[in-house]
């Protein structure tokens, strides 16, 4: 009986739905497959038959980009800047999030309100003053300035996110730690960190993606060629080599690789982060 009033479609009616999903998915997968195939062939071969499979397979595009066009160095630079800024965000946001979630704080509403209100401004309003401030401080063209900007723009959401996550930590545990004589940092390290680990991991993945993918500040604040990050290098390669699609495709692949690997192996954390974003 209960099967008859199922609200799901029957098997026959589901076929078009499945096909619709496949079609929609193909609009995303096909361009990516096309890029990977293009990246693995010489330009001559691409121009002869762009939509066919490569008749010559080669890694030359990758090798050329990596060694001659600074992509290898830029990849490592991006890795450094993204991991450093994520680490700083995690430490600062964990401390602030734990305090706001579990400790008495002077004027907690003032702090929460400040974090929330700066999130309302569009990013573009920050570009000019930040550029001028960092120029005045003498840290334009220096990773310190860029990392500070990434940390500052990430912190409001990060703090908000971890405050919510840490609220779930049982008070009895914290109380027990206090009775055992654990100090503030001991409590954070021995209780908040392990119990809040899923939230912290989610935040780490989201912030890493944000820093790795950022383009505008990376472009404006880093001027030295040897220090350039991956996204600006990719953008300029894309402009310089419009007629060499395989080379540009290899650059696209290199830049997209890290986020795609994160999505493949940490999709659980990414999807969980979204839930919080939604409930906000």
């Amino acid at each position: 009986m209960s099967e008859e009033i199922s609200t799901r479609l029957n098997a026959k009616a589901r076929t078009p739905i499945f096909l619709g999903m496949v079609l929609l998915a193909l609009t995303i997968i096909y361009p990516l497959v096309f890029i990977i195939l293009t990246a693995l062939r010489p330009n001559v071969d691409y121009l002869r038959d762009p939509f066919g499979l490569p008749s010559v397979w080669t890694f030359d595009n990758f090798i050329e980009l990596w060694q001659d066009y600074g992509v290898g160095r830029a990849f490592l630079n991006s890795l450094f800047v993204a991991s450093t800024s994520v680490s700083i965000v995690l430490v600062l946001a964990s401390l602030a999030g734990y305090a706001l979630a579990k400790l008495p704080v002077f004027a907690p509403k003032f702090f929460t309100a400040s974090f929330v209100s700066v999130m309302l401004f569009p990013g573009v309003v920050l570009i000019i003053p930040i550029y001028l401030m960092l120029a005045r401080l003498g840290i334009v063209g220096n990773y310190a300035g860029l990392i500070l900007v990434y940390v500052a723009t990430a912190l409001p959401f990060a703090t908000f996110f971890l405050t919510l996550a840490f609220r779930a930590i049982p008070d009895e545990l914290l109380e027990a730690a206090r009775v055992d004589g654990a100090g503030f940092f001991q409590t954070v390290w021995l209780i908040v960190r392990p119990i809040g680990a899923p939230g912290i991991a989610t935040l780490a993945v989201l912030q890493f993606l944000g820093a790795w993918n950022e383009l505008i500040y990376a472009m404006i604040l880093i001027t030295d060629d040897r220090m350039k990050l991956l996204t600006p290098v990719l953008a300029s390669i894309g402009k310089r080599f419009v007629t060499d699609q395989p080379l540009v495709s290899a650059g696209l692949f290199i830049t997209a690789l890290v986020p795609l690997l994160l999505l493949a192996f940490a999709s659980k954390y990414i999807m969980r982060g979204l839930q919080v974003g939604i409930s906000r």
Partner: protein, 286 residues
């Protein structure tokens, strides 16, 4: 004891607060100051409201504002595709979780990557022109024609945006009480009937929310796409307000006029956000 731990808690919040204050709150204030001056970054010359007055009589600003409105065409498109994806995902057939991740995939890519994919695909030697040539046509210089350029950016926005919005809508669908569906099914309402008389009305709040974030995005978030795909061209035909603010700031010797544009844009976006908050409060009450 209690007083002491209040000090500890406050000290723990302080580092994050100071960084946010110095590199977000203070710059916002500084931007407002800059917008009242003529400056090259070294000397600041107080100009009162001159930069703002100049914005309101600048024909390029109006042309660019019109572009922002044109980009709003992407909103119904992306919501439609997201809605289709969400309704399909909601059927929860085998493998829906895999599809969910695929739809979401463009969201983890850099705007530099997405922008270049579209710039490449529509370049003179790009895949689209190759396809046109194969089917016997003449290659098109897409980026010389403003109409094509705008549509290419809109396409990029839809392609990269629908997955995330589908997940937002899916969350809304999941929140509907399933007994409503069952009751309707018992009454003999078919799948399409249920879609239009139950499913969609029940997620109108989420649809409203998605609409608002799209509007905010169209005004304050597509800078990167435009920078990579068209650099605002041809002429100013694909330049938006936020991109114009950037152009003014970094290609003229008066950062003040760029700052004035950015401040006006912030006020506009702030008002939109407030209106959104108000609309949601009203809906919660009914």
């Amino acid at each position: 004891m209690r007083r002491q731990s209040k000090v500890i808690g406050t000290l723990a919040v302080l580092p994050a607060f100071l960084v946010v204050f110095s590199f977000m709150a203070f710059p916002i204030g500084f931007a407002i100051y800059i917008s009242f001056t003529k400056t090259n970054g070294l000397t600041y010359e107080w100009r009162g409201l001159d930069n703002y007055a100049a914005v309101f009589v600048d024909p390029i600003v109006y042309q660019v504002l019109l572009n922002n409105l044109k980009f709003m065409v992407s909103i119904p498109l992306v919501i439609f595709v997201a809605l289709v994806a969400a309704v399909l995902l909601f059927e929860r057939f085998k493998g829906w979780k895999f599809f969910r991740i695929i739809f979401f995939l463009p969201n983890v890519l850099s705007v530099a990557v997405i922008g270049l994919i579209f710039r490449n695909a529509f370049s003179f030697d790009g895949a689209v022109n190759q396809l046109i040539v194969i089917s016997g046509g003449e290659p098109v210089q897409f980026f010389i024609d403003a109409n094509y350029s705008i549509w290419i950016i809109i396409l990029a926005l839809v392609w990269s945006g629908f997955g995330y919005q589908a997940l937002l809508l899916l969350a809304g669908l999941t929140a509907i009480n399933t007994s409503v569906f069952e009751a309707a099914a018992i009454d003999g309402a078919g799948w399409w009937r249920r879609l239009f008389s139950i499913t969609l009305p029940n997620i109108r709040k989420v649809l409203g929310f998605v609409f608002i974030i799209n509007v905010l995005y169209t005004f304050g978030g597509i800078f990167g796409f435009i920078f990579v795909i068209t650099a605002g061209g041809p002429g100013f035909e694909t330049t938006t307000i936020d991109f114009l603010s950037y152009l003014r700031a970094f290609s003229s010797n008066n950062l003040g006029s760029g700052a004035a544009l950015a401040v006006l844009l912030s006020i506009f976006i702030g008002l939109l956000t407030l209106a959104q908050a108000k609309a949601f409060k009203l809906q919660k009450e009914d």
